[in-house]
Amino acid sequence: MSTVVEMLNVTKTFGEGSSIVKALDGVDIRIEKGEFVAIVGASGSGKSTMMNLIGCLDRPTTGLVKVAGEDLSNLNDKKLTSLRNYAIGFVFQSFFLLPKTDALDNVATPLFYRGVPAKEARKKAMEMLSKLGMADRYTHQSTELSGGQQQRVAIARALVTQPSLILADEPTGALDSTTGKQVMDLFENLNREGITIVLITHDLEIAKRAKRRITLKDGKIINDERGAA
């Protein structure tokens, strides 16, 4: 098994002097290929901070963060951006589809940024939309889609680059429970196909469906359990 994410004694602080906040405080984890990990914790416990590090959106204050074998501290903005494009598929709570852009181009955009010719990128995007049952909506913009449909398009966009892992921050947070369950079914299926998934959630019911749960409190890992709960 290859390691997708590795964190060694990671701290992340915000601000300075008396107003300093330790969002992460000595975190060590390894996430292997094919895992399905849920990160849980109270509000302000450091979940999003950890996700930003795993997602190569930020660098740690101290400690080592390795994603797909690359040490983030050694990478400049350009390399960090490439790493996001190649290694990470983001799924956000509020979907974050691009405005004034149809579903097809939303999914194709990560490939555009990679320099894949438009025709080929759209072909791959179409395949991914089909896989998620959204082929008939490819001309729709986000304003013309339901929440569940938007999240499917967003997941297609995350998958189209064949990333090392899918990183989902509260992916069901803006959906009703039925649609939320469908999205979780989708993640389970994808994980069964071998795709690594890290998801952040408040919801313990959702977390139970992951194969591993990491609990954060005040920037520290207080629990790391494997197997279905």
């Binding site: 930003n52 997602g55 959106l57 930020d58 903005d77 350009k78 951006t81 490439s82 996001r84 494009n85 190649y86 983001f90 956000f92 974050f96 691009l98 405005p99 004034k100 852009t101 955009t109 990560p110 555009f112 940024y113 990679r114 320099g115 438009a118 966009r157 680059t161």
Partner: protein, 388 residues
């Protein structure tokens, strides 16, 4: 992401936000429109004048004396012997009172020889110009300008009737058309020999007009004649000559300078409005970057490089200013066309002017798009994503 996709993105955004894009472009549209319209006015108006002066003959040289006794008939005889010269025409002038039965007025009386007609080609309103007359004859014939004829309360039927120059009776043979009036207003023409009897003193001439065999030779002939006359008038060294030689090219040059100056002045004014238009684009783009902070965050998260965000926003600014420029050119040319109709000059569609306007508006787009685009590209992905 290639430029094509960025351009497509820019176009679809402009179409999706028509009102705002229209308002954003307004400054550029007005700027380019006024640039095109004003420069066309400057060029149209002056090219009309230039055409009129070209008609006066680019082959002609005019020699005038600085005093009434500077030039003589002998000077003219010698000039005729110079190479490259086709026609030499002599004129004298004096002032006299003209009286018809109805009115009288002081006027400039110009005595012209028989070559004058072919050199100057005066426009006749009615009748004819002075006929060729025998040397040393006493042909008391006169041609009046329309202005003079009007002053003397004469009409088109006055051809063949007489008026008095001083106390001598002259027969009117023609009235000139002053419309393109070049120094003919208020002037009457009589034969040279006659003029020597009544209004001028021989052998002195007031001017000599020379027609060269072609346009190219004019500067050379000017130099020759200057040397010849200086020698004949014993003017050596630093002493100032007692004659002045002018040709149409100097006049045309002067008009050209005026045209250039007018174009630059009006173009400059219009360019200022283009720059103001550019500032408008910058303002809206900066607002737009703020509004789209989250979109930029998403793009950065899924793999857009800083340079790609920069390109996207820069192209958006360029497309805005270029589309504004194209609309401005179209409206500007329409306005220029109607102004040309009004001002009765030729409407000329100048491709170089259009290209320059579009190039300039693109340049404005780049200059004023860079800052917003840089701002967009420098946003931190994490913070941009958190932005509400």
């Amino acid at each position: 992401m290639n430029i094509l996709i960025a351009a497509r993105l820019a176009f679809s955004r402009i179409l999706a936000t028509k009102t705002r894009s229209g308002l954003t472009m307004l400054g550029i549209i007005i700027g380019v429109m006024s640039l095109i319209a004003l420069v066309s006015v400057a060029q149209g108006a002056t090219s009309g004048i230039q055409d009129q002066f070209k008609g006066l003959g680019a082959r002609n040289l005019n020699i005038t004396g600085t005093t009434s006794t500077s030039l003589t008939i002998d000077d003219a005889r010698e000039i005729e012997k110079e190479p490259g010269i086709e026609i030499v025409s002599e004129t004298v002038s004096g002032r006299a009172t003209l009286s018809s039965n109805q009115a009288s007025t002081r006027a400039q009386i110009v005595g012209v020889d028989s070559d004058y007609k072919s050199v100057v080609d005066p426009d006749i309103f009615v009748g004819s110009f002075l006929p060729d007359v025998e040397t040393a004859s006493d042909a008391r014939l006169i041609v009046l300008s329309t202005t003079l004829a009007t002053d003397l309360e004469l009409d088109a039927f006055s051809i063949g009737s007489t008026i008095a120059v001083g106390s001598t009776e002259f027969t009117i043979v023609g009235i000139l058309d002053d419309a393109d009036g070049f120094g003919t207003r208020g002037t009457a023409y009589i034969p040279l020999e006659t003029a020597f009897k009544y209004v001028a003193v021989p052998p002195y001439l007031s001017s000599i007009t020379v027609q060269t065999i072609n346009e190219e030779i004019v500067p050379e002939v000017t130099a020759n004649l200057t040397a010849l006359l200086k020698a004949r008038h014993n003017i050596t060294g630093e002493r100032e000559a007692d004659f002045v030689i002018t040709d149409a090219s100097q006049l045309l040059d002067a008009i050209g300078t005026v045209q250039q100056f007018l174009s630059l002045l009006l173009g400059g004014i219009a360019s200022i409005s283009l720059v103001v238009g550019g500032i408008g684009i910058m303002n809206i783009m900066l607002v737009s970057v703020r509004e789209r902070t989250r979109e930029i965050g998403i793009r950065r998260a899924i793999g857009a490089q800083q340079s790609q965000i920069l390109t996207q926003f820069l192209i958006e600014a360029i497309v805005l200013s270029l589309v504004g420029g194209i609309i401005g050119v179209i409206i500007g040319e329409i306005v220029a066309y109607f102004l040309a109709q009004l001002g009765e000059w030729n409407f000329v569609l100048s491709p170089s002017m259009i290209l320059a306007s579009l190039g300039f508006s693109m340049f404005v787009g780049v200059v004023f798009g860079v800052w917003p685009a840089r701002t967009a590209s420098k946003l931190k992905p994490v913070e941009a994503l958190r932005f509400e």
